[in-house]
Symmetry: C2
Subunit: 291 residues, 2 copies
């Protein structure tokens, strides 16, 4: 069976793997994201030990250029991460290893992995949203990942900020109280003075978090009309969030859309990723598969 390479190129660590499919990971390596040169060299050294791979998929932090007809295809572009703005990742790896490279956002890759092997099998229009240190999302519409002008930046949508209940100004350096600014991990920590993981399950933080995330999900439902919404990331490890969030989505929609998926069947509409922790690197391998 052909061997595929995958890179989950994150802002804090890179995960590289060689695999034939979802359950056949033959080798993998994890290393911290340092300078572009050092990090790329480590990835290349890993794959040069596996000369027989036929293609590589890369799911990267961004913003980035995933347009194959663009001269800067394969670049991480305007990232605020020091040293990484306008870094050639995709074409550099393609040239060094001489195999086809598929290059997309980390979240589009994770969405694609869920489409091929996970919670979105058989669906052609769905959303994968991750809520952790940041908030980002991948979107498939009509069977293909959405790029359009650039790629979705779901974390930066604007939602109503309940200033009466929540004086916290928001953590996003660009937008203040966008979704990510109000609901990602750093906002939880700064608003409540402790890390989210250390807050008790009945702390009011979680009702507010569910409220903000529900507003975002309602906006996704009204714009993308996804057949399912997959929620990953560290914040969603808080199991008490799930029932709160599903109920808030229903309250906010208020019966306007009479679809079973949004009513009795909401537990199978808003779901965790089936690939769990491996969604990132498996998504990259799935991208390599699809070429």
């Amino acid at each position: 069976m052909p061997l595929y390479g995958g890179i989950e190129a994150g802002g804090t660590k890179w995960v590289c793997a060689v695999a034939t499919g979802r359950d056949q990971i033959l080798a993998h390596a994890v290393f911290p994201t340092t300078t572009p040169t050092e990090t790329l060299d480590q990835a290349l050294a890993f794959f040069q030990r596996h000369r027989d791979i036929v293609a590589i998929g890369i799911g990267s932090f961004g913003p980035l250029d995933a347009n194959p007809s663009s001269p800067t295809w394969g670049y991480i572009t305007t990232t605020p991460k020091p040293g990484w703005a306008y870094t050639n990742v995709g074409a550099a790896i393609q040239q060094a290893l001489g195999v086809p490279v598929s290059f997309d956002t980390d979240v589009n890759a994770a969405a694609f992995g869920e489409h091929i092997w996970g919670a979105a099998q058989g669906l052609d229009t769905f959303t994968y949203l991750t809520i952790g240190t940041g908030i980002g999302g991948g979107v498939m519409a009509n069977g293909k990942l959405i790029h359009g002008l650039l790629h979705p930046e779901l974390g930066h949508m604007r939602i109503p900020h309940d200033r009466a209940a929540d004086e916290y100004a928001g953590a996003c350096p660009y937008h203040g109280d966008c979704l990510e600014g109000l609901a990602a991990g750093p906002a939880l920590r700064e608003r409540w003075g402790q890390r989210g993981e250390t807050l008790p399950a009945d702390h009011p933080a979680w009702a507010l978090e569910a409220h903000y995330l529900a507003l975002a999900l309602v906006n996704l439902i009204c714009t993308l009309s996804p057949q399912r919404i997959i929620l990953g990331g560290g914040v969603m490890q808080q199991t008490q969030l799930w029932p709160l969030l599903r109920r808030k989505v229903q309250e906010l929609l208020n019966g306007y859309l009479q679809m079973p998926a949004l009513l009795d069947e909401i537990d199978s509409y808003i779901v965790p990723p089936a690939l769990g922790d491996r969604a990132g690197v498996l998504g990259a391998i799935a991208l390599a598969h699809s070429g």
Copy 2:
């Protein structure tokens, strides 16, 4: 050349036309939306005078069922319009006239017309938004109209409501201060005590309107990543809105996405429909064309 039929099935009036293409409308009729039976009979009578049409496209008010594999395909479903809930439109016309029928939302039809003949030619991912008595939108992603779970309901996204500057509670019977509740024609009239068309061009209403619409456009950009946004409807006839709106979108994005379309080229990114008043019925004819 083959003849196509189109129906713009609106909540206040229906427009029917027979055409070979964008500039060859051979016959058309306009009549008020009364009861389902009477309105459908008028449409059928019109098309029965044109026995040689090969297909019909229908762009209808909704929510509706546009899923060809559903038993209620062609129905207007949960509309609050009295007498019209669960009305069979698409299949009824198909059976009466014996020709293929394409059935979609009025706004998806208008978007499709702009794709074939108007301001979205050559684009595969874009949004058409109409701001009038209500707010609705059609979305094409990866070359096809989005349906997904149901279809987009762009008017019902939630945006930040500036209660300090705007005490008006919102007009939406389901959601109060959703986008439509804050920024459609009825909200303008109720907030300011007069119809939008009668407000002077330098009235503060327009800065507030531009602010709310800009929040919605930012959310569309962050979720759908459209290659262009087309804005139609009566409210957008207020020409002073356009520069305010484009500038507010840039202020809200605050340089996060360094794409020329969102910077120097925004005048050709946020644009009016090329088909103008005829977008609805021409969109329906375009749907018939595409089968």
